[in-house]
């Protein structure tokens, strides 16, 4: 039985006049609808990124061979079916750009920060619902501007997703004019969207927690999203500033990054990575948070070391500001600085390791329910660990010297971003699907998808460590032009075949996702027997959540297998036991 506090009727809850289709589903200010909008758009961009990757793998596996279906692309990109070098570098650049900025970041933050935060802290909606709506539309606009880069004269940007200047600032060097400018514009717009969203997330978490929801009773998914929002609000503006300076270099002829005219090429790298490193923590922390919730649920045990998990998230975020130089060990920067960055980077492995051990500790001797979200969450832990271990190699500057800009780095990136973030999404999407759509995704297809993905994914990316160590560089068009790389070419072919299989397997997920929207099993209110506040609402959750009431919170989020629960092996946060007292909401000043 949940009991609720009395709330003053708030102005925005009273507007229950019937809303048109446009107000309800398109220009919605409801955080749940906005989260779902982000979900559909981001999954589309994930597909775009995947298609770009397939072309990259074709070229790397079978350099110079005509690509099946290459005929539909224009002659400027593909000549007689063979991918041209100018097009290949566009593929590499845009694959990274779309995946980082328009797939993973919006999937983790745009979808789950929006969808989960108000539900999990007991609020009716975000603090600023209209700004939230703008945040989505600006993100979509930014994505479309970026996509337009393929269709303008000269084609898409081609300086790598990291857009190093002066290559990116000089169309005469890179070959791309308009699209490079569109990149800058898109980034500025996306930055606005991110900052608006983050302001919402931070304000909602600080000010709109339901009575009884102390900070240390928030689920780790909310903690992670909170810290992520703080990272985003402070890091994105730096990228916006850099992108604006790049745009000026490209258009009006300034020379911020051009050493010939007094600018500094390294300035771009410093600005970009000062943003870029917190960005990669933005890409992993929400994943870690959601995985914590799911592992506790799947183990029917409280998360092991809840407080240390929180401090680990804070520690990772804090240290994340002072490690950015590890992306620049080979840039020619001051070697003393390099040593400082090496130390801080090695340190950051510690809180990450704490988290891995705590996930293991949670599962140890747990009553494991290996449902699809749990399988993917465990996959996350193992794959992220591998990615983290390869990270330690790179953190050590002397080791980074030979492996920088090789496929070893590419392997690391994909182990943490795919093996990490994407597996976490494969866990989170089915887990919260019932809350979003009122139906369950199919469990059997989900399990087949997990196993096939896990196998093909490892077959794709693990060998990249090997060919990277063997000297294959990043972003290279044709490895076989080097004699010392020719012996590794069979591995490249193998990776490509595995990648094609990996991509094909994802259609299972796509089918499962889309088909279950209409044909999935109708979900019970709490299909996972979870403790979070969101499960105290019907599926799908109604507009306004608990409005006009506000739930009371009596305990932390991980009371699984608690003795007080009686026969059940879970004890929801909002369930009032006879021994519980109602939480007292924050008093007004002057006391009353």
């Amino acid at each position: 039985m949940t009991s609720v506090a009395h709330a003053k009727p708030e102005a925005h809850d009273a507007h229950h006049a019937p809303m048109s289709f446009w107000q309800k589903y398109i220009f919605s200010t409801d955080h749940k609808i906005i989260g779902i909008q982000f979900l559909f758009v981001s999954l589309f961009f994930l597909l775009v990124g995947g298609l770009l990757a397939m072309q990259i793998r074709w070229q790397l596996g079978f350099p110079g061979k005509p690509m099946p279906g290459g005929g539909i692309l224009p002659e400027s990109m593909v000549s007689g079916g063979v991918i041209l070098p100018e097009y290949y570098i566009q593929l590499v650049t845009m694959h990274g750009t779309f995946m980082v900025f328009f797939a993973i970041m919006p999937l983790l933050v745009g979808v789950y920060a929006n969808f989960l935060i108000p539900l999990k802290v007991g609020a009716h909606d975000m603090a600023f619902p209209r700004i939230n709506m703008w945040s989505f539309w600006l993100a979509l606009l930014a994505g479309l501007i970026m996509l337009a880069g393929f269709f303008v004269p000269d084609g898409a940007p081609r300086a790598g997703w990291t857009m190093y200047a002066p290559l990116s600032a000089r169309p005469d060097l890179s070959g791309a004019t308009y699209s490079q400018q569109l990149w800058s514009v898109s980034i500025v717009v996306l930055g606005l969207s991110s900052v608006m969203g983050s302001v919402n997330y931070i304000t909602t978490i600080i000010n709109h927690r339901a009575p009884g929801m102390h900070f240390f009773r928030m689920p780790l998914s909310v903690w992670a999203l909170f810290i992520t929002a703080i990272l985003a609000v402070l890091a994105l503006p730096v990228l916006q500033g850099a992108a604006i300076m790049l745009l000026f270099d490209q258009t009006i002829g300034t020379h911020f990054f051009d050493p010939v005219a007094g600018g500094q090429a390294l300035l771009w790298q410093h600005l970009f990575w000062f943003f870029g490193h917190p960005e990669v923590y933005i890409l992993i922390l929400p994943a870690m948070g959601m995985v914590s919730d799911i592992i506790a649920n799947g183990s029917r045990k409280p998360i092991f070391g809840y407080h240390s998990m929180v401090f680990a998230i804070i520690g990772i975020a804090f240290l994340g500001w002072i490690v950015w130089g590890h992306h620049m060990f080979m840039s020619g920067m001051n070697p003393t600085l390099g040593s400082t960055f090496m130390v801080s980077t090695l340190l950051i492995a510690v809180p990450s390791a704490v988290k891995v051990f705590n996930w293991l500790g949670t599962m140890w001797r747990g009553n494991l329910h290996l449902h699809v979200p749990m399988l993917n969450a465990i996959g996350f832990v193992s794959m992220f660990t591998i990615g983290g271990l390869s990270g330690i190699f790179m953190a050590a500057t002397p080791v980074d010297i030979p492996i920088h800009d090789t496929q070893f780095i590419v392997a690391h990136i994909h182990y943490v971003l795919f093996g990490g973030s994407l597996f976490a999404l494969f866990a989170a999407i089915p887990f919260w699907y019932p809350k979003m759509f009122g139906r369950m995704m199919d469990e059997r297809i989900g399990k087949i998808h997990f196993w096939l993905t896990f196998i093909t994914y490892n077959l794709t990316f693990f060998p990249m460590h090997i060919i990277g160590m063997g000297g294959q560089m990043r972003r290279i068009y044709d490895p076989t032009i080097y004699d010392f790389l020719k012996p590794q070419q069979p591995i490249n072919e193998f990776i490509s075949y595995s990648a094609f299989a990996l991509f094909a397997v994802q259609f299972l997920f796509m089918f499962n996702f889309l088909w279950s929207l209409k044909k999935g099993k109708v979900a019970p209110q709490n299909p996972w027997n979870d403790n979070g506040l969101e499960w105290s609402l019907p599926n799908p959750a109604p507009h306004g959540n608990w409005a006009p009431k506000t739930p009371n919170v009596y305990r932390g989020p991980y009371e699984f297998s608690a003795p007080e629960a009686g026969d059940a092996d879970f004890l929801p946060q909002t369930k009032k036991l006879p021994t519980d007292r109602d939480p007292v909401p924050a008093t007004l000043p002057g006391g009353h």
Binding site: A5, H6, A7, K8, A127, F128, V195, S198, V199, N200, I202, T203, I206, N207, H208, R209, A210, P211, G212, M213, H214, V233, L234, A235, L236, P237, V238, L239, Q240, G241, A242, I244, M245, F248, I252, G253, T254, H255, F256, A261, G262, G263, Q264, L267, L271, T550, P583, P585, A586, L588, P589, G590
Partner: protein, 239 residues
């Protein structure tokens, strides 16, 4: 001045756990201002770094830029900041009016409508003077890409590179216009927002001592913009 009753709209949301202790709009604006600090960090930080790297590209203070005029402009912005806080204090006391006679005082007492109008005028004045300064500078040859060929400043620079900046003076112009330009953009957005609030909420007297959140929030933004200018004026014009 009488005390104001603190009402629900200007308190933190209820019922809720203790949070920042202020209503959400104010918290949101503070978080946004923190992000704006980082944006200006990128621009101003780049300026500092570029100047450290090639100090000869910069002119001596006052050689190119009009310091006295900008000093007056700075004063104008500071005045607008004061009038903003007076507007905030006025509405906190419930003074929705323009001007009112106070017995025993020579000067009339200004209400929200008066002080906010002063703020808007001073803010718009600041933008106007900036635009005027830009036009003059470009006319003399100072552009974002350096001294224009054949302009007055280009000739001066050839004659006295220490005073006017040596060789490729592009850096000076690039950083100047970018930093002050984006600051000016922020000021313009502030003026437009205040105008919007003035016509839609201040003139129809929709703000009261019970609810003046919009004034406080736009006030915070405005003071921030003034604060950034205080830093900018010093490091761009005086150093």
């Amino acid at each position: 001045m009488q005390s104001t009753a603190i009402t629900d709209t200007m308190r933190p949301p209820f019922p809720a756990e203790p949070g920042a202790g202020v209503y959400s709009n104010k918290l949101g604006m503070w978080v946004f201002l923190a992000s704006d600090v980082m944006f200006f960090t990128a621009l101003i930080g780049s300026y500092i770094v570029l100047r450290f790297g090639m100090p000869s590209a910069w002119a001596a203070p006052g050689a190119v830029l009009n310091v006295p005029l900008t000093g007056i402009n700075t004063f104008l912005l500071i005045c607008s900041s004061v009038s903003m806080v007076k507007a905030y204090a006025a509405i906190a006391d419930g003074k929705k009016y323009f001007l009112r006679k106070v017995p025993g005082k020579t000067l009339q007492d200004g209400g929200l409508k008066f002080w906010l109008l002063i703020t808007i005028i001073c803010g718009a004045g600041f933008v106007g003077v900036q635009v005027f300064e830009y036009i003059k500078l470009v006319g003399h040859g100072f552009t974002p890409t350096g001294y224009r060929e054949g302009s007055v400043l280009a000739e001066h620079a050839l004659a006295d590179p220490v005073k006017y900046g040596a060789g490729v003076a592009g850096m000076y112009g690039s950083t100047f216009f970018t930093m002050t330009g984006f600051h000016g953009f922020h000021v313009t957005c502030g003026v437009i927002s205040m105008l919007y609030l003035y016509f839609t909420k201040v003139l129809p007297e929709k703000y009261s001592a019970q609810d003046y959140r919009g004034i406080e929030v736009i006030g915070l933004y405005w003071h921030f913009v003034d604060l950034v200018w205080i830093i900018l004026f010093t490091i761009v014009y005086l150093i």
